[in-house]
């Protein structure tokens, strides 16, 4: 898979590729353009320039639904659930494009998800609108997996969740990765993201400021600097302003 990319102001000339079975992560502070990147891979946002190819096919003209049909599936940042539908409905809808396979295949797929995320099994009849934040995140993950993705994109799965719940979700990601899932993980929580990914990219204000194997990035001072670093460039300008 090759993905090369370049769009406007939010993201500028980012190029990368993901190999089958690999998990890469994009880390960086808010506003770095991570979510924008995923949204344009998903076809929700139009990219201004550059190209994205998936299994050798150019994606540019494809609507989000068509990308799902090709195996690119997202766990969106805002989860985008259906508040009035049950957990199990969400999972079934995740497999909407695979509905031709019949009842048995659907049941088997549901069982696999309940095994990976047992809490969803307990809550299968509950409406998504009444779930806690962590449970909603699991529904979003489960729904995406039901589509049998070839490329799973996770957008800030830890946002707003308690550490214990985050841990549960990342354990599930660990297991998926062990099963050979290809993925792009966008995360603000750098340590967490680098603990599961093979490779990492550090984004800051729309461009990649550092990249490399996840192990090496963990101790790279540029990572910390990207989040809460510096201030000197603007302190200097102070005198002239007043």
């Amino acid at each position: 898979m090759t993905v090369s990319y370049g769009a406007g102001t939010a993201i500028d000339g980012v190029s990368f590729d993901v190999a089958r079975g690999e998990f890469v992560t994009f880390i960086g502070p808010n506003g770095a353009g991570k979510t924008t990147l995923l949204n344009s891979l998903m076809g929700v946002l139009q990219q201004n320039s550059g190209s994205v190819t998936f299994n050798g096919e150019e994606l540019k003209a494809l609507r989000p639904e068509a990308r799902v049909a090709r195996g690119i599936v997202i766990v969106p940042e805002r989860r985008e659930l259906f508040p009035g539908l049950s957990v199990e409905d969400h999972l079934r809808l995740g497999a909407f494009l695979l509905r031709g396979r019949g009842r048995a295949a659907m049941t088997a797929a549901l069982e696999r998800i309940y095994e990976l995320l047992p809490k969803l099994g307990e809550r299968r009849r509950q409406l998504a609108g009444t779930l806690s934040g962590g449970e909603q995140q699991m529904v979003a993950v489960g729904r995406a997996l039901m589509a049998e993705p070839q490329l799973l994109m996770l957008d800030e799965p830890s946002t707003g969740l308690a550490p214990r719940v985050t841990e549960e979700i990342f354990e599930a990601i660990d297991r998926l990765k062990a099963d050979g899932m290809t993925g792009i993980l966008v995360e603000q929580n750098a340590h967490l993201a680098l603990s599961v990914a093979d490779r990492g990219f550090v984004l800051e204000v729309g461009s990649v400021v550092a990249f490399g194997p996840a192990q090496e990035l963990r101790n790279d001072p540029r990572v910390l600097a990207a989040y809460i670093g510096g201030g000197d460039r603007y302190r200097d300008t102070g005198a002239s302003g007043i």
Partner: protein
């Protein structure tokens, strides 16, 4: 005199002499076109405010029946009855507006539709008074101070004089304080309220104005025809006027006139053709319906832009002279301007904020930071009154936070994370919105151009605000033509025009180039020197760390650290919040 003004005078002269030169058959058609144009102009204003009425025919009917019945039964002077019935219609419209305009979205069209049908069925049913479906004749003619207007040509001229005055008034209004506020109503309700516009009341005013024009048109119609019956005020008329407004386009009152002339001519032509084919009934509605759909799909701005392309650009109103007086502030670190106590808010299952306490003292420059989903934007919305917390209280200068449209009056102004500039307004007009609360000129003063001196001071204030942020060269440009970075700076200029004591900045540097960020920092430093209190939410840590005196760090809805930038940068809790703690089973 500008070319545009001379053209307007020339066109007006043509319209006013036309009734005297047209063949007599066309004089009537021309007069009808003028009556519908008046109603369409009202709808154009309503469209500009992002609303729509499907019952303008009924307002016409109310104006018509009110004036006709009273004049006929009691022999009251028709000028008096016309004024009375228009006023009564305004009251009815205010009531309908009050009921529906507090609700969002699609209720006004439905309510006006229902009201329109109800009213016309009353005209038909109340036989004893209205003459029922067959109507009443012997309606007295319109009399102007004892002079009865019975001459068709003179009457047609009067109608068009009123239409031209309405167009003139609307173009004045468009450039006034109220006109700028009306432009925000379609998509920028929250922004408008944060600069002091009571959007609900303004929506009702716009709706009432459109009803007044319709009622006036109805009155003129009935005293011209001197016969009144329900059918001219049916739904069909409401729809026809709607098509006129859409065909002419919502950009200008002149669009209403163009639409009325186009559609009236089309109707006469179509009926002529259909009659030749031997078709009976109102088959022209098929074509009208298609015109309406096609216009909206292909040319949603109507015909007016095609006309305006050939006109010179309108001259902006003068922004010379002094701006409004600015509040002089003294540094006083003892004075707490803003105090948050135990703020908590829940969305569904999510506790977005929990027990947040915070203070802003006069002259302070405070940064609010935190990872994604920490609750910064939510807290900002609470401080600016757009969200109400489940627990806790916000005190502004030791008083409870007022309704969102009154906050700016208490000295707090803000910018928005997603730029909220009105594309229909120029840069300087957008900035002038900031000074809305500092001036008074209302709807009528705008309409009759009685606001010139005040408006000039407002525009001067806006120009000075633009100068302070280094954008005076861009003042007269279309807002959408600016790059995003400059648009964000315009947002700051608008907040400055509000003369704030507290300035809330929601990610002002997002998408800015480095040079633009330097400008931003310079502006912020200058404001700090003027003792403006600033609360900054920003993701560019480089910028935040370099500017602010004090940082407040939010994580998962709670404050986890507070202090000078260097302290916060070294705080392990903050580092953990941003980078995440290590996992137990770290790989």
């Amino acid at each position: 005199m500008p070319i545009r003004g001379m053209l307007a005078i020339a066109v007006s002269a043509v319209f006013l002499t036309a009734p005297w030169v047209l063949p007599s058959f066309y004089v009537g058609i021309f007069a009808y076109a003028g009556i519908y144009a008046l109603v369409a102009i009202g709808l154009v204003l309503l469209l500009q405010a992002g609303q729509i009425s499907l019952g303008q025919g009924a307002f016409m009917g109310l104006g018509a029946y009110g004036s006709a019945l009273v004049a006929r039964a009691y022999g009251v002077d028709t000028l008096v009855t016309l004024v009375l019935s228009v006023s009564a219609t305004a009251l009815v419209a205010a009531l309908i507006g009050f009921v529906t305009l507090r609700l969002r979205g699609h209720y006004l069209p439905l309510a006006t539709l229902a009201y329109g049908i109800a009213l016309v069925s009353v005209f038909t049913a109340w036989h004893d008074v209205t003459g029922g479906a067959s109507g009443l004749d012997k309606i007295p003619p319109l009399s102007l101070f004892g002079f009865a207007l019975t001459d068709d040509r003179l009457y047609s001229q009067l109608i068009w004089a009123i239409v031209l005055l309405a167009v003139l008034g609307m173009s004045r209004l468009r450039a006034s304080r109220t006109g700028r506020a009306i432009a925000t109503l379609e998509s920028y309700d929250g922004m408008a309220r944060s600069f002091g516009v009571d959007t609900t009341v303004l929506r009702i005013k716009v709706f009432v104005f459109s009803a007044v024009l319709a009622a006036l048109a109805g009155g003129l119609y009935v005293h011209m025809l001197r016969f009144v019956s329900p059918s001219p005020f049916s739904l069909m008329t409401s729809f026809k006027v709607l098509i006129m407004a859409v065909v002419g386009g919502p950009l200008s009152a002149a669009g209403g006139v163009i639409g009325a002339l186009t559609l009236e001519s089309a109707q006469w032509a179509l009926q002529d053709i259909l009659a030749r084919w031997g078709a009976t009934g109102n088959l022209e509605v098929i074509v009208f319906g298609i015109i309406l759909v096609v216009m909206l799909l292909k040319w949603p701005l109507g015909l007016w832009p095609a006309v305006e392309r050939f006109l010179p650009k309108p001259a902006g109103r003068s922004s010379d002279g002094e701006g409004l007086a600015r509040t002089v502030m003294k540094e006083d670190r003892q004075a707490v301007l803003l105090r948050l106590q135990g703020i908590g808010i829940r969305f569904g299952g999510l506790q977005a904020l929990d027990a947040v306490d915070m203070e802003l003292r006069r002259g302070e420059f405070v940064g609010l930071i935190g990872p994604n989903g920490a609750g910064k934007t939510t807290l900002f919305s609470i401080i600016s009154g757009l969200l109400h917390p489940t627990n806790g209280s916000v005190l502004l200068s030791n008083e409870k936070l007022p309704a969102s449209h009154s906050i700016v009056r208490r000295g707090m102004a803000r910018t928005f994370q997603h730029v909220q500039l009105v594309p229909e307004l120029t840069v300087i007009e957008n900035v002038a919105l900031g000074a809305y609360w500092r001036t008074q000129a209302g709807f009528l003063r705008g309409l009759f151009a009685l606001d010139n001196a005040e408006n000039q001071r407002v525009l001067a204030t806006a120009r000075l605000a633009l100068e302070r942020v280094g954008l005076s060269a861009e003042a007269e440009l279309a807002t959408a033509s600016l790059p995003l970075g400059k648009q964000r700076i315009v947002e700051i200029a608008r907040a400055l025009a509000a003369d704030p004591q507290i300035l809330l900045l929601d990610e002002p540097a997002a998408g800015l180039r480095f040079s633009e960020k330097l400008t931003l920092v310079r502006v912020l430093r200058q404001l700090q020197a003027e003792h403006v209190t600033i609360l900054l939410v920003e993701h560019d840590m480089e910028l935040v760390m370099g500017c602010v005196e004090r940082l407040v760090v939010l994580d998962r809805g709670r404050i986890i650290a507070e202090g000078a930038p260097s302290e916060v940068q070294a705080n392990p809790a903050v580092i953990a919040a941003y980078l995440g703690g290590s996992r137990d089973k770290a790989a």
